[in-house]
């Protein structure tokens, strides 16, 4: 492969944003007929590199060569015209137009100046048949699943004569079957000689398809490796740049002294709590300093349980007690008053004000509880903000940086900091590690462990069993909107048993215990 000429070469690319060196002398090569994975943590510079390549951003230094000619695109349109197409996670097509038209708009087959719809439909069907997609091309694109829309986007890009195809996190919202189909299409395109840049967080997919891997970290190039010569563990190390023993240490702490923690009165006790059409009545206690993991499939009722505790939904059955006192948490304000904090799943869209600085975003909730007449003194702000930036290792560590300049993972940490600063007694984390890289994941897991050591109760919702097992004292399993098992996390509990509980309802688990 190295004898051939690269179709694309990026040399010594640098890009500076106000206060951040997003890319620092990065090199990147891409050969025809390969799938090249671009890997790195959140904030490593993957997105920036792609935006520089496609002309969304200009470069501050460095050159881009396409087919031996130096290029500098003024925008994605120019890049596309030159044969560099990008398919994003969120599909950039028009949902109101038909599938066929989405593929051909701007290049419609015409006869005597009029759009030749019959010819367009025929060619669209032909093109999609080549990637084994048999759908009614006259239906509006919006009536198909995201996976199909993505494949249509790829079909368009390829038909526009793309030589370089960039797939930016295409698999994030697809299920396993859809991912398999997408990977198959990628292989087929690669065999046709197209160069594919594949950006993803999923290691399995990288090892399933990529020929080579380029790793970025903190805006710098770590290296370029043939996939076969880079074991997974080595890749992870290169991405996060530190040893993995932090994870191991957490592991050993998981079996912490559970008896001592659960000895006293529970912080929160739900007794037959439920909501018609949402969650069947369940009973659950959470003690101070205890981490309760909530496991189950998507849609099993995990988030609904959390919403009842936070008052986002109102329970219509059962009782809730805080510190042994019966109480009704009717709304989130009441919950916050009782010391409950809830980091919801879609934190990126829900919580942060992009224009405000990191400092202002972190202080927001605290200021809200104090009322606007009692501003938080600036010195106290600085002190608090600095402490949390450090504790969560928010990067860049600049409190005055507008939040929108931060990467996704770091934005999530800012939102977490906002809740932590209110010093909650019960912290509910709904999928806090989804869509973020391994390094940030480890940091958040370690943080959860620290917080519970400090006496905070944590309700931890995650789809990743390993993570739940590593952190929790008790694992609660949801299935079909019912609480089906509560498993003490002792030496005997492993992913298999939890999985069985999720799968079978695990009534016998309880029987065994009794």
């Amino acid at each position: 492969m190295s004898q051939r000429h690269p179709v694309l070469t990026m040399t010594a690319i640098s890009k500076i944003f106000p206060g951040v060196r997003a890319l620092d002398g990065v090199d990147f090569r891409l050969f025809p007929g390969e799938v090249h994975a671009l890997m790195g943590e959140n904030g490593a510079g993957k997105s920036t590199l792609i935006k520089v390549l496609t002309g969304v951003y200009g470069t501050d230094a460095g050159t881009i060569t396409l087919d031996g000619q130096q290029v500098s695109f003024a925008g994605p349109m120019q890049a596309t015209a030159a044969g560099v197409s990008t398919v994003y996670q969120e599909v950039n097509l028009c949902p109101n137009l038909s599938v066929a038209e989405n593929i051909f708009i701007g290049r419609e087959p015409r006869r005597l100046g009029a759009v030749n719809w019959r010819e367009m439909r025929r060619r669209a069907q032909e093109l999609l048949a080549r990637i084994d997609l048999h759908i009614d091309v006259t239906e509006p694109l919006g009536s198909y699943s995201l996976a199909v829309q993505q494949m249509v986007a790829i079909a368009r890009a390829v038909d526009v004569n793309a030589r370089v195809l960039i797939l930016d996190e295409p698999t994030s919202s697809l299920d396993a079957d859809e991912v398999a189909q997408l990977l198959r299409i990628m292989r087929q395109l690669r065999d046709d000689g197209i160069a594919i840049v594949f950006v993803t967080h999923f290691l399995d997919q990288v090892y399933g398809i990529a020929d080579r891997i380029t790793v970025l970290r903190n805006g710098r190039l770590v290296g370029e490796y043939p996939t076969a010569e880079l074991p997974q563990i080595a890749l992870v190390e290169k991405m996060i740049g530190k040893e993995l023993d932090a994870l191991e240490r957490l592991d050993s702490e998981a079996g912490r002294d559970r008896a001592a923690i659960t000895a006293g009165q529970p912080l929160v006790a739900a007794d037959g709590l439920g909501r018609t059409g949402s969650v069947a009545p369940f009973s659950l206690t959470i003690h101070a300093g205890e981490v309760v993991g909530l496991a189950g499939l998507l849609g099993s009722g995990r988030t609904e349980v959390a919403r009842l505790f936070f008052g986002a939904d109102r329970a219509d059955q059962g009782r809730l007690a805080v510190d042994g006192e019966p109480t009704a948490i009717r709304n989130p304000v009441a919950a916050i008053g009782r010391g409950v904090a809830f980091c919801s799943e879609n934190r990126r869209t829900e919580g942060l004000v992009g224009e405000l600085s990191v400092r202002e975003n972190i202080i927001l909730a605290m200021q809200a509880t104090r009322g606007w007449l009692r501003p938080v003194p600036r010195r106290k702000q600085d002190e608090l903000v600095e402490r949390y930036i450090k504790a969560l290792s928010i990067r860049p560590a600049d409190p005055d940086m507008p939040v929108r300049n931060l990467s996704g993972g770091n934005q999530q940490k800012v939102l977490l900091a906002r809740w932590l600063i209110t010093e909650p007694r019960l912290l509910i984390l709904d999928e806090p590690t989804r869509g973020i890289d391994i390094g940030a994941k480890t940091e958040i897991q370690r943080l959860v462990a620290q917080l519970s050591d400090g006496g905070m109760a944590v309700l931890f919702i995650s789809a990743e069993l390993e993570e739940v097992l590593r952190l929790s004292h008790k694992v609660v399993v949801m299935r079909d909107r019912q609480l089906v098992a509560q498993l003490d996390n002792d030496d005997t509990l492993d992913a298999d048993r939890v999985m069985r509980a999720i799968a079978s309802g695990a009534r016998q688990e309880e029987l065994e215990k009794a």
Binding site: N92, C94, G106, E108, R110, G113, V115, L133
Partner: protein
């Protein structure tokens, strides 16, 4: 892989109407029901001339509404149309009064609207300003120009104009006017443009998702400027038809007409957010407004304000219908 699980969907049954055509069919049904009510209540309603009169009385509204359809399909709005209609009629009347040759007057009148539309389109595109506010400014400007030309109504006595106004084209025992033919020609050209030209398809793409349209390399700016120019041209044609109809130019005529056209377009099934709708629907929308008016005229005892009340109710119902269709889609 022999079958694709992603595409488990058979061919469409012949009786299943594509979702995007549901609003238009609803309007058609409404029109037929209202016409039926008219025929059953009033004996004279079944006269074919009643239908022709709908076109005669609403020809200029139809032409303006066609232009508005283009704008709304891109997700924009044009509030200047009523004023541009009035200004075109005013300019024509004033020039004819000064003895300018009618052919030249026609040419000038047809240039004013598109020029203003082009200018507004440029402001909207290059300065990235809300169409609402730009065309609001255009509306005040054009209305101001009307009174600047003359504060009073100017009668038209020119021979070409009067013959165009009074020419009756016979169809059997009934007749239509020149305006009707012009309006139908505009509808036909517009429908072809939207369905079969790149410009038309780009209009739909921009209405669907402007950002995507840009990324797909479509000429978004050019198309947006074009739709406001087209709307300006339609307003100019509408203004001339109105001056045929009234044989005068009046500075305060067609006030609020922009709202009537928007109502007609929306009742005709075009989404206010853009990307979905047909000129044929707009034609039906205009006819619905016309039938309401005719019904109230036939009744004789109802105040003409009832027209507005019924239109208000219909608009509300149609926006809800669009919402429901949209929700079902998701």
């Amino acid at each position: 892989m022999t079958t694709t699980p992603l595409a488990a969907r058979g061919p469409r049954a012949w009786w299943r109407v594509p979702q995007r055509q549901v609003p238009v069919l609803a309007t058609l049904a409404l029109l037929l029901v209202m016409y039926g009510i008219g025929v059953s209540q009033y004996r004279a309603f079944s006269n074919i001339q009643v239908v022709f009169n709908l076109f005669i009385d609403n020809g200029f509204l139809l032409v303006v509404a066609v232009g508005m359809t283009f704008v709304i399909l891109t997700g924009g709005i044009d509030l200047s149309v009523g004023s541009v209609v009035a200004m075109t009629a005013m300019v024509s009347a004033s020039l004819l009064n000064d003895g300018v040759h009618p052919a030249l007057v026609l040419l000038i009148a047809l240039l004013i609207g598109p020029t203003l539309g082009f200018a507004m389109g440029c402001v909207i595109h290059f300065f990235d300003i809300q169409p609402f506010i730009v065309t609001l400014a255009g509306m005040f400007f054009a209305r101001g120009m009307c009174t600047w030309i003359n504060t009073a109504s100017i009668p038209i006595t020119d021979g070409f104009w009067t013959s165009a106004a009074q020419e009756r084209i016979r169809i059997g025992e009934n007749f239509v006017t020149v305006s009707v033919l012009v309006a139908l020609a505009v509808v036909a050209v517009a429908a072809y443009t939207l369905a079969y030209t790149r410009l038309g398809r780009n209009v739909y793409a921009i209405g669907g998702n402007q950002q995507s349209a840009l990324l797909m390399g479509l000429p978004v700016g050019r198309t947006k400027i074009a739709v406001y120019t087209i709307s300006g041209l339609c307003s100019a044609i509408g203004g001339i038809l109105l001056s045929f109809y009234t044989l005068s130019g009046a500075p305060l005529i067609a006030i609020g007409m922009e709202l009537d056209t928007i109502a007609a377009v929306v009742i005709g099934g075009t989404l206010l957010t853009g990307g979905s709708g047909y000129v044929f629907g707009t034609l039906l929308g205009v006819l619905v407004l016309g039938v309401i008016q005719t019904l109230i005229t036939f009744d004789g005892s109802l105040s003409s304000w009832w027209t507005k009340i019924v239109i208000g109710g219909l608009l509300f119902a149609f926006i809800l219908l669009q919402r429901l269709v949209g929700i079902r889609k998701k």
